[in-house]
Symmetry: C2
Subunit: 398 residues, 2 copies
């Protein structure tokens, strides 16, 4: 007989029993890395910027030449040339000299600051500077942004557009990221049919729902499709999926008998470790290991299957990609009291209003349309007897 | 001479001058719709569930037959058969009769409730019911989830896994979504080079950064690449992009002269409407229209280009996909005072700590590595003189 576990214990047991479900890496082109997870610290191979750059349009100067300059007594500097964009100056500044420079231009040797054009006047080869600048004022120094050898992006960074900008700045064309684990989905149930259901039959929701949730989690979905509640058919599907995927989700059947069948199959092909988690929805969750690969039995009811995916399966997938545990999307203020059963952790869809109040969406078991109205969900801890109106609650993204 | 506008005025003017930049739709397979935006209300074509279903394993009953039943005086019902999953019962219940049913099974005619197996005992063809049930207890009624004709998903819904589950439940194989606008990116600047930069030269960051930001915004990026700061080269690039894309972004050059060149080209090929927005970073933003298509001149500095994309360009793209204005990711408490300049809206990268405190990331102009440390950014309104420590601030996602 398998125990009913708390969710924390279930998640811990799953990790303990799947020591081979470890992150793997691959190297891909930076152009294709949007959304992927960096698998190693990425070090700057060079200084960024690679040279001292002006951050204003004006004149490159030796700051000391401007000390004491003001509106009444401008510093007078000799203009010895212009620095073109994309080129090193062909000259050095001596004391008393300056050169025209544009934003982004490279400071010539001898210059250590830039004066804004607005604070100057040019006449007869001379530049009159009406305001003093400090050394390195209006300048990005070499290595200011990133020094060669510094960590530019940390292992575990999700590569968003900002990170991709940093890769481009450093000229990094390839990155090593975590592989997307391949997760197989099997739906079971004699009641599932393709096409128009006859009375008593329903469509297979969980294959599409779970495949999309797998992709949202940054993994790859391998769809096996729906199979009838027959031992041989399910066994064959599970064997094929264990061969081809890194983990397997079996959703449904909804009856106790069908769930026992799933447990039996997992225990025949490998080892079943638990059947039942003290959470709602999601109680009839099954977990086992076949050939070292995690295999989950998810409830047939789509809303419950979704929550089990997010709360039991996803923590393992995140760990596989070296991601930290999921954090709440935001916090809000509960708009009404929510009762709950002591001893069972509960998850409830909510809508977040503009004023950040959090409205629970009450639904009957078996209803999935609530997902279309929900912004996210909240958690009622196992030992709470509900949550009071006005409580600050954490909301997780749907 | 073109004015410097507030950001709100800039965004409003952009919409006013681009009346042809309107949402377009396309019909795609539901299997490919993850992340897309629904272009029309989606109506349920049938009841969901399509029949009254048991939500427990047990017996289908006529609730009235159980009234008054208790632990001491069970109701005694005749078991006339079993309802198989995926089939309509071949019989009706008369008063005093019941039938074995599993979770998800279809109630037979004459039944209006289900009794949990735990509250029954079977002996000699009789079922003893030790607890009464109310009509429709432990049942999902036909149409409970969605009634035929009800709106299942609203126009503008981003199709996440939950929405995809609803599509599957309704048997909807194709959906009409908003097209992804195609946004072209041109980088300009004599200092930009492919490969290893020589002294004075830099890599093109903005092409990669903006292309990724365009994709993150749910649009398609068309990369033109880097061109020199020469009128003919930029003109040719802009013409090609206006032909092939729905909108064009021209980033850089960083100097005032280069920006004037961009304004001049837009005004030659079409009409330039503004040059300068009262925001930091992002002041030297340019906007015009060529052949009815919006064309933006973005700052050459990557961080500034990124903020202008998010704050000036992105509102237009969201409107094009019928999305509401972006909302903050979350709120937090400011960990320190932030000074700012009255009269100019400011945007600042921040890190959100676990305790929801918000730490500003101070940077020199020209630095982009700050993006790798930031969780998001906050806004300092134009008429504020900074923000005080302890203020609750809204944080926008990076």
């Amino acid at each position: 007989m398998l125990h009913v576990l708390t969710r924390e214990d279930a998640v811990a047991l799953i990790k303990e029993k799947t020591p081979r479900f470890q992150p793997k890496t691959e190297t891909i082109a930076s152009a294709d890395c949007l959304g992927r997870i960096l698998a190693a610290d990425l070090t700057a191979g060079e200084d960024l910027p690679a040279f001292d750059r002006a951050t204003v349009d004006g004149y490159a100067v030796n700051a000391a030449d401007t000390f004491g300059a003001g509106a009444a007594i401008p510093a007078q500097l000799e203009v010895i040339g212009e620095i073109l964009m994309g080129e090193a100056a062909g000259f050095s500044l001596r004391r008393g000299q300056c050169a025209r420079i544009s934003t982004g231009g490279m400071l010539p040797p001898g210059a250590d600051a830039a004066v804004m054009i607005e604070h100057t006047e040019q006449a007869d080869g001379l530049c009159l500077v009406y305001r003093s600048v400090a050394p390195f004022e209006n300048v990005n120094r070499r290595g200011d942004d990133l020094a060669a050898g510094a960590i530019a992006l940390k292992k575990g960074t999700r590569l968003n557009s900002a990170a991709i900008g940093i890769l481009a700045a450093l000229g990094i064309d390839e990155v090593t990221v975590f592989q997307k684990p391949v997760i197989a989905v099997i739906s079971t149930g004699d009641e599932l049919v393709p096409g128009k259901p006859a009375p008593g039959q329903i469509r297979d929701v969980n294959t599409s729902l779970l495949a999309a949730a797998i992709r949202e989690a940054g993994c790859e979905a391998r769809i096996y499709g729906a199979v009838a509640d027959q031992r041989a058919a399910i066994e064959q599907a599970v064997k094929a999926c264990v061969r081809e995927a890194d983990a397997v989700l079996i959703s449904g059947g909804s009856s106790a008998g069908a769930r026992d069948l799933t447990v039996g199959i997992i225990d025949t092909l490998g080892t079943a470790y638990f059947h039942g988690v003290a959470m709602k929805p999601g109680k009839p969750t099954i977990f086992g290991v076949i050939d070292g690969k995690p295999v989950f039995g998810l409830p047939g009811h789509p809303l419950a299957a979704y929550f089990v995916f997010r709360l039991i399966v996803s923590p393992l997938l995140r760990a596989r990609m070296a991601l930290p545990p999921e954090r709440p999307l935001t916090v809000g203020t509960l708009a009404e009291n929510i009762p709950s059963n002591h001893g069972r952790e509960e998850f409830l869809c909510v809508r977040l209003r503009e004023d950040r109040s959090v409205v629970p969406l009450h639904t009957k078991s078996g209803v999935i349309s609530v997902l279309s109205e929900a912004t996210g969900f909240l958690r009622i801890p196992r030992n709470a007897e509900g949550l009071a109106q006005g409580t600050t609650v954490e909301v997780y993204a749907l």
